[in-house]
Amino acid sequence: MKLHENTAVVLSQLLAKKEVSAIEVTQSFLNRIGDLDPLLKAFVTLTPEFALKTAAEVDQKRINGKRLHPLAGVPIAIKDNICTEGIKTTCASRILSNYHPPFDATVVSSLKAIGMPLLGKTNMDEFAMGSSTENSAFFTSRNPWDPERVPGGSSGGSAVAVAAGMAPLALGSDTGGSVRQPASFCGLIGLRPTYGRVSRYGLIAFASSLDQIGPLALTAEDAALLLGAIAGYDRLDSTSLPEDVPDYSKELGAGIKGIRIGLIGENVDQQFDPEVNAAVKRKLTMLEQHGAVTGEVSLPLTDYGLGAYYLIAPSEASSNLGRYDGVRYGYKAESRHLEEMFSNTRGEGFGAEVKRRIMIGTYALSAGYYDAYYLKAMQVRTMIRRNYEKAFQSFDLILGAATPTPAFKIGEKSDDPLQMYLSDVCNINDALAGIPSISVPAGLHSSGLPMGMQISAPPSGEKLLLAAAHFLDGQKRGVPQRPQLEIGEGGSK
């Protein structure tokens, strides 16, 4: 087995036993990136020197007998909307194409303190607005299971990196499914933590009340390790939860005996690929056979979530993106005078989808429309949260499809924003409710593509989510977890 084929937990053990060095591990992923990234285009920026420097430091510490975090020396890829001091952070937008933040996001500081080599910054839909990475200002990332297909988005680059073995772990951000949807398309574990569980400080805002940073990983164990490394109260983020962080890796094997699991009734309709529904049902049956108490749960407002989301998120975005004017940082357009500079900078700096959302949001917040749109959407949001609260009185976990279909083809939906928005339909309600939610592989579609299932828990229920996901990891029995990539000469297929 090649080094880059290992999970983070296995790498951690190999490193701890000094069977491999962090430099070797890091180099093997860098090699893999060299082979595959020209084809798959997961990364916007690569940081090999920085990664190797970190790896060397970790190796030296290990030689010196320093106590190290289990993830010390395990490399990571980070979505390009998370600030890295001195390292270009673009949000896959032309407007930030030359932006080097002067500070690290809190999660980046945490990873640096642990000694996780940063392989690079991953591609995404511009400002995290999209579900395919097709909205990246730079290029579209490709799904390792079928390079003609999208990897999902907006954290598509992070998903590609992990799925293709170019990074054992990655960070994404999930505003309305941007971690879970690409995880589903790429056959990974993708976790959206409880809102506030992970600091947003240094995460470049799309929709502040929804944005959460979350891990993308091969296994629940890996995701648990990474979540433990980034979760916790941060005094720099007023919305972060002042709760202690449990040891997510402990009691992962607790099993699902007696756990009450509800299958969302509303998701199962004709818009969903029947194979996806069948796969979810199969998983539910499996859980039941192993002692879970299952039933159907009704979340009657599911249909309204998408509408509410596409008012709230653009409204916040329209405000968050007002600062990009070419004056202090970022892209600055040629112009004859100040006003022209502002409008040209934005006209040239933002892509179509970002502009669309700025306009939708500006409209929704305007005097005379606020009550009908933004306020109404916020009321729906409250009702959706209450729906979940009620559902969680009867169930410990709620289960449904992670995406209605497997990955779609590049270009298939890029001209139809509404169809694109619908690909997040399974993920949006959890985000609105602020609850934790995990996407786990649910087997392969007849097309050979991975399908995903989503499990949600009450606030701060990450431990239970991870235990359920870990249980399912153990039940795979021969289902291929990784795409079969043929690497030819020069790294192209």
């Binding site: 500070f103 400080y201 009340s209 919305t239 004017d325 500006t362 606020y370």
Partner: protein, 479 residues
């Protein structure tokens, strides 16, 4: 009777005196190299997030309490979205429909009357940066510079109801508000440095009418005098429009300090839509009752309370009390001295007279002066131990050297010279040196005595008693 009544409401912004800014740890002090007190948060860099400064909230709540405004247990911050280069995030974190405090009032004295201005609300927001144009405005300047040192400084906004009736009333109100805020120590309230700013809404209506007329907003008034002048000017401007049968346009006017007129800004503003919505980066602000009680209990005496107490406790006249209100530290000095000296009116006369004159003339720092020293002088004077001229000299000497007047009296032998035995040598000397004046007196010129008395006073450095000298001269010369 005037045909129109002027109706004015004010919107006042006050920079709170905190060590750090509202949402980050940057220093909030005035001045400094441009853009030296900045960080990712107050520069609005992508990814940065705001965190409350508890001190700013406490100061704001203190001000609300002093203004009788009802502090809300739960208030909320909102984003006020507008695009301007001094606003690094393109929105200002402010409070919209759930302000820190609602209602309230400020009573103030104007022309020996107490007037009440009701308040709409008191809320907290962040300050914007400062622009410097190399030209008239941002649009025609060759270039503009921006300093973000000010960005993020906590700003208190106080909105009054339209309760003011003239420019001079507005000025009196503002000065009283400033004094109140100085008393409670929330701001240094310097209009010239911009830590106290005021915009006004002004309209006219037919006298006796209850409806509000069409208002204009007057901006750019950078001193108390400017507030008065601008509003008086604007009232006249509107009156002329109304008298000629015209309609006042709902617009923003700029006060031009040089031409001394208000100039309407056409088109530019007025229709702004700030697209307020709750600031998702901050939790609602919850203020516990216990904290509010604590802040209320630690409120100092407010100017109007003190004004009343100075009259009640010390029998001061309104004008005397007013001077002590307006000059808080002088009032403190007075009250400190009054602890050991109970001829309060005399004390007040001295404090507001000779003492204040000396302090201002010589530029002494009031906090370094000792009330006890003045009391020592007054007691000696009252007891007849020193003369009034000596008392004044002593005061000057004691202020200059910081030495106790009692000590100065002893070492410089400044006690009064009284009694025939002590005075006679001086009187005889003056008679011998001024035969002309003596002759004049003998020939019936009364004024000559005053001259002779003056000579002895000079000779004795004011330690002799003029009355006693007068009698003595008459006695000796006419004998």
């Amino acid at each position: 009777m005037d045909r129109y009544e002027t109706v004015i409401g004010l919107e006042i912004h006050v920079e709170l005196q905190t060590a750090s800014k509202l949402f980050c740890g940057c220093s909030a002090t005035f001045g400094g190299e441009p853009n030296s007190n900045c960080c990712p948060v107050c520069l609005g860099l992508p990814g940065s997030l705001p965190v409350f400064n508890r001190r700013a909230i406490e100061l704001a709540a203190t001000a609300a309490l002093a203004l009788n405004s009802e502090i809300q247990g739960k208030s909320r911050f909102d984003r006020k979205n507008y695009f301007y280069p001094d606003l690094p995030k393109a929105y200002q974190v402010s409070q919209y429909d759930q302000p820190l405090a609602k209602g309230g009032f400020l009573d103030f004295r104007i022309k020996n009357e107490i007037r009440r201005v009701n308040l709409e609300r008191v809320h907290l927001e962040e300050e914007a940066g400062k622009l410097l144009h190399a030209g008239e405005s941002i649009l025609d300047a060759e270039y503009s510079l921006v300093d973000y040192n000010r960005a993020g400084i906590p700003l208190l906004e106080i909105v009054t109801r339209p309760d003011l009736r003239s420019g001079s009333e507005a000025r009196f109100f503002l000065e009283s508000l400033r004094l109140l805020l100085l008393y409670i120590g929330v701001s240094d309230c310097k209009m010239e440095e911009g830590s106290l700013r005021c915009d006004a809404n002004i309209s006219l209506r037919p006298t006796g009418s209850q409806e509000l007329g069409i208002k204009t907003e007057v901006k750019n008034m950078n001193s108390f005098k400017a507030v008065e002048a601008a509003l008086e000017f604007e009232a006249v401007r509107q009156e002329k429009i109304l008298n000629s049968g015209g309609k006042v346009g709902q617009e923003t006017c700029h006060w031009n300090e040089e031409t001394r007129e208000t100039i309407p800004l056409r088109g530019k503003e007025g229709s702004s839509d700030y697209r307020y919505f709750p600031e998702p980066d901050l939790l609602p602000l919850l203020l516990e009752k216990s904290l509010i009680r604590e802040l209320a209990a630690s409120l100092p005496e407010l100017p109007l309370q003190r004004f009343q107490r100075l009259q009640d406790n010390y029998g001061l006249a309104e004008s005397e009390a007013q001077i002590f209100i307006d000059n808080r530290d002088l009032g403190d000095f007075f009250e400190s001295a009054a602890k050991t000296y109970n001829n309060y009116r005399n004390l007040a006369n001295w404090v507001q007279g000779d003492f204040l004159f000396q302090v201002r003339e010589r530029g002494y720092r009031l906090e370094k002066t000792l009330p006890d020293h003045l009391v020592e002088i007054l007691v000696q004077l009252d007891n007849g131990e020193i003369s009034r001229p000596v008392a004044k000299n002593l005061l000057a000497e004691s202020l200059k050297t910081g030495r106790s007047p009692l000590e100065l009296i002893a070492t410089n032998n400044l006690g009064r010279i009284t009694g025939r035995d002590q005075l006679l040598p001086l009187v005889e000397q003056v008679i011998a040196e001024n035969p002309g004046a003596v002759d004049n007196f003998r020939r019936g010129k009364e004024k000559a005595v005053a001259f002779l008395v003056g000579k002895v006073m000079a000779l004795s450095s004011g330690r002799a008693d003029p009355g006693e000298l007068n009698r003595l001269f008459r006695d000796i010369i006419t004998k």
